[in-house]
C-alpha cells in the first residue's frame, strides 16, 4: 500500500501541489504583487517614452542624461545606439532593479498567507501528524511561494522587453538582454525573493497576523530601493561583478535564514503557542 522510496520528495511534491492549488483558488493574494509589477513596468515607459512624446522634448538634449550617454558609449553591443536610444536604454536598465521588487512582493504576500493562513485555519496540526518533517514542510512552503512569484517576475520581464521592443527607440530592448540585465532578473530577483520569503516564514512562525510577517519581509526591499537610487543618481554603477557579489551575499543570507527558519519553526511552539 505504501510507496517505498523517495518518500521525502513525494511529500514535498504533495504539499507543493496543495499550495499551488490553494493559490489558484485564491488569486487575490497576488494583487499586491501584480500592482507592484505593473508599477515597475509602467514607470520607465512613462519616463522614457510617454513624457518625451507628450512634451516634444528629447531626453538626450537634457544635460541630466549625459551620464547615460557616457555609460552607453562604453558598452559593447550598444555603441550603435543613437543618443535618444542610449538614454532610453539607460533608463530601462536602471528601472530593471524595480523588477526585483516584483518577486519579493509576490513571495512575501504568498508566504505570509501560506503560513499564517494555516495557523489561523488550524490546518497545521493534522498536517504535522503525518510523516512530514519540518524541513520537508518548509521546503514545500517556500517553493509554493517562490515558484508563482518567479513566474510573475519572469512574465513581467518578458512584458518589459516586449514593451521596449514595441514602444522604445530601435535596439533599446538589447540593453535588457545583456548579461548584466539578465543577472539582475534571473539571479538577484530570485535570491532576493527567496530571502524575503524566508524572513516572512521565520516571522510567521512567531506572529499571528500576516501583516507583521509582510512588514519584516519588506526589509529586503529597502536595499533594493537603495540600489536603484544610487544608480539613478550616478553614485553607483552596478557592474556584472558587483551583481555576482551581491548574489553571493544573498545566497549566504538565504543559507542562514534556512537554518534559522528550521530552528524557529518547531512543532512544539506551533502547536502549543499558536492560538
Amino acid at each position: 500500500m505504501r510507496r517505498p522510496g523517495g518518500a521525502a520528495g513525494a511529500r514535498i511534491r504533495a504539499l507543493l501541489a496543495k499550495e499551488l492549488a490553494d493559490l489558484r483558488a485564491n488569486p487575490s493574494v497576488f494583487v499586491p504583487a501584480i500592482v507592484t509589477g505593473l508599477l515597475a513596468l509602467l514607470l520607465p515607459f512613462f519616463v522614457a517614452v510617454i513624457v518625451p512624446a507628450v512634451t516634444g522634448e528629447r531626453l538626450s538634449d537634457s544635460s541630466d542624461f549625459q551620464l547615460a550617454l557616457e555609460v552607453y558609449r562604453d558598452q559593447p553591443g550598444l555603441r550603435g545606439l543613437g543618443a535618444e536610444a542610449a538614454v532610453q536604454a539607460w533608463i530601462f536598465q536602471q528601472f530593471l532593479i524595480l523588477l526585483v521588487i516584483t518577486p519579493v512582493a509576490a513571495s512575501m504576500s504568498v508566504a505570509a498567507y501560506s503560513v499564517i493562513g494555516e495557523k489561523q485555519a488550524r490546518t497545521l496540526e493534522p498536517l504535522l501528524a503525518t510523516p512530514i518533517t519540518t524541513l520537508e514542510l518548509l521546503t514545500a512552503k517556500v517553493a509554493g511561494s517562490l515558484l508563482p512569484a518567479l513566474a510573475l517576475s519572469f512574465v513581467s520581464f518578458a512584458l518589459y522587453v516586449g514593451g521596449a521592443l514595441a514602444f522604445a527607440e530601435a535596439g533599446v530592448y538589447r540593453a535588457l538582454l545583456t548579461a548584466r540585465s539578465l543577472l539582475v532578473v534571473f539571479l538577484l530577483g530570485p535570491l532576493a525573493a527567496l530571502a524575503a520569503l524566508q524572513m516572512a516564514v521565520c516571522v510567521s512562525s512567531r506572529v499571528n497576523d500576516a501583516r507583521s510577517a509582510q512588514q519584516i519581509g519588506a526589509l529586503i526591499i529597502l536595499p533594493v530601493a537603495g540600489l536603484l537610487i544610487a544608480q539613478v543618481t550616478g553614485s553607483l554603477l552596478l557592474t556584472g561583478e558587483m551583481i555576482l557579489l551581491i548574489g553571493l551575499g544573498l545566497a549566504l543570507l538565504n543559507g542562514g535564514l534556512l537554518v534559522l527558519g528550521i530552528a524557529l519553526f518547531d512543532r512544539e511552539s506551533i502547536l502549543t503557542r499558536w492560538k
Binding site: 505504501r2 513525494a10 504533495a14 492549488a21 485555519a121 496540526e125 501528524a129 510523516p131
Partner: protein, 304 residues
C-alpha cells in the same frame, strides 16, 4: 500496541501532564476523560509524536518514539484533531488526496475513493471544504485520519458538535475500527459515548486519577449492588433481608437496592429469601450508577 510510560510534560513552570502511564491494546477502545485543561490534548499530542515528553516515553508496537523515529511512527497513527483542520478552498477529494500522498500511499486515488465511499462523501467530493456542514467536515477529517489504515487511532472529541445521527454513525465507525483490531484512544467529554463504546476508561487530571474497565471503576467506588423491583411496596421486605445477614438494604417505593460483594453470586439467594417472604418480584438487575457519577466521584476525590 501503544504504550505511555510515566509521561510528563511541562510548559515552562506549569506541569500539564505528570507521570501518566497506560497501554492500549489492539482491538481495544481506551477512553481518556478529564476536565478542560487536564492534559488530555497534550497527552494525545505526545502519543502522536507531535510534541516530546519532558520525561517518560511513548512506544508504538514496542518501538520508542524519538526524534529519529517520530516521522516513521506517525505513519502508523491516525490522529483526529480537535478541529477538523481542512483546507477550505480545496475540495473534499483534494484534501484527502494530499494526505494520501503525504502518507506515501501507492494507490492513493483508490484509497481516496474507498474513503469517499466508506464515509458516504462521494456526492460531495468536488465541493470545497468551506461549503460543508460541521458534521460533514468532521466526517472528512475522520476519513483523512483513517486513510492510511493506521493500526493506532487517536480521536480527540470525535463527535463534538455533531447531530445525534452523525454522532451515532461515528460511534458505529469506532466500533468497526475495534473489530478491525485497531488500538483506539478516545478523548472526549461525552460520557454517554464512553459508556457505549469504551472497553477501559482513564480519568486524567494532570495525573492519572484512575484507569480501569467502567464496571470495575463502578464497583470500586460504589460497590456492587442489586436492584430488585417488586409488584408491591419494598419497605416491608427490608427486615427479611437484614435478618438473613444482608446489612446494606435500601427501599425506595417498589425498589430494593441491595449492597452485595458479588451480584451474580448473591442474587439467587436474595431472590429465594424475598420469594419465601411473599414478595412478587418483577425484575432483578445489577445496579449501575451512570459513568457520570463515577467520573464526578473520581474527580471530587482527586486533588485539583
Amino acid at each position: 500496541m501503544l504504550t505511555a510510560s510515566h509521561l510528563t510534560r511541562r510548559f515552562d513552570d506549569r506541569v500539564a501532564v505528570q507521570d501518566v502511564s497506560f497501554e492500549v491494546a489492539p482491538g481495544e477502545i481506551f477512553a481518556l476523560l478529564g476536565p478542560n485543561g487536564a492534559g488530555k490534548t497534550t497527552t494525545l499530542r505526545m502519543l502522536a509524536g507531535l510534541i516530546e515528553p519532558s520525561a517518560g516515553a511513548v512506544r508504538v508496537a514496542g518501538e520508542p518514539m524519538t526524534r529519529r523515529t517520530a516521522s516513521r511512527l506517525r505513519g502508523s497513527i491516525g490522529f483526529l484533531t480537535e478541529a477538523p483542520g481542512l483546507w477550505d478552498r480545496l475540495s473534499v477529494r483534494q484534501n484527502l488526496r494530499v494526505y494520501a500522498q503525504l502518507h506515501g500511499l501507492q494507490e492513493g486515488d483508490r484509497a481516496v475513493d474507498e474513503a469517499l465511499d466508506v464515509f458516504d462523501l462521494r456526492a460531495r467530493e468536488r465541493e470545497p471544504a468551506a461549503q460543508l456542514s460541521k458534521g460533514l467536515r468532521q466526517r472528512v477529517a475522520l476519513a483523512r485520519a483513517l486513510l492510511h489504515r493506521p493500526s493506532i487511532v487517536l480521536l480527540d472529541e470525535p463527535t463534538s458538535g455533531l447531530d445525534p445521527e452523525s454522532a451515532r454513525e461515528v460511534r458505529d465507525l469506532i466500533l468497526r475500527l475495534r473489530e478491525q483490531r485497531r488500538a483506539i484512544l478516545l478523548c472526549t467529554h461525552n460520557l454517554d459515548e464512553v459508556e457505549r463504546v469504551a472497553d477501559r476508561v482513564a480519568v486524567l487530571r494532570s495525573r492519572l486519577v484512575a484507569s480501569d474497565r467502567p464496571a470495575a471503576l463502578r464497583a470500586r467506588l460504589f460497590g456492587a449492588r442489586l436492584r430488585v423491583t417488586l409488584a408491591t411496596a419494598a419497605a416491608p421486605f427490608v427486615p427479611v433481608l437484614t435478618r438473613a445477614g444482608v446489612p446494606d438494604v435500601r427501599a425506595d417505593g417498589r425498589m430494593l437496592s441491595i449492597g452485595v460483594d458479588d451480584a451474580a453470586e448473591r442474587a439467587p439467594e436474595i431472590v429465594r429469601l424475598l420469594v419465601n417472604a411473599g414478595a412478587a418480584i418483577q425484575a432483578v438487575t445489577p445496579e449501575q450508577p451512570p459513568l457520570e457519577e463515577v467520573y464526578l466521584r473520581l474527580l471530587s476525590e482527586s486533588p485539583a
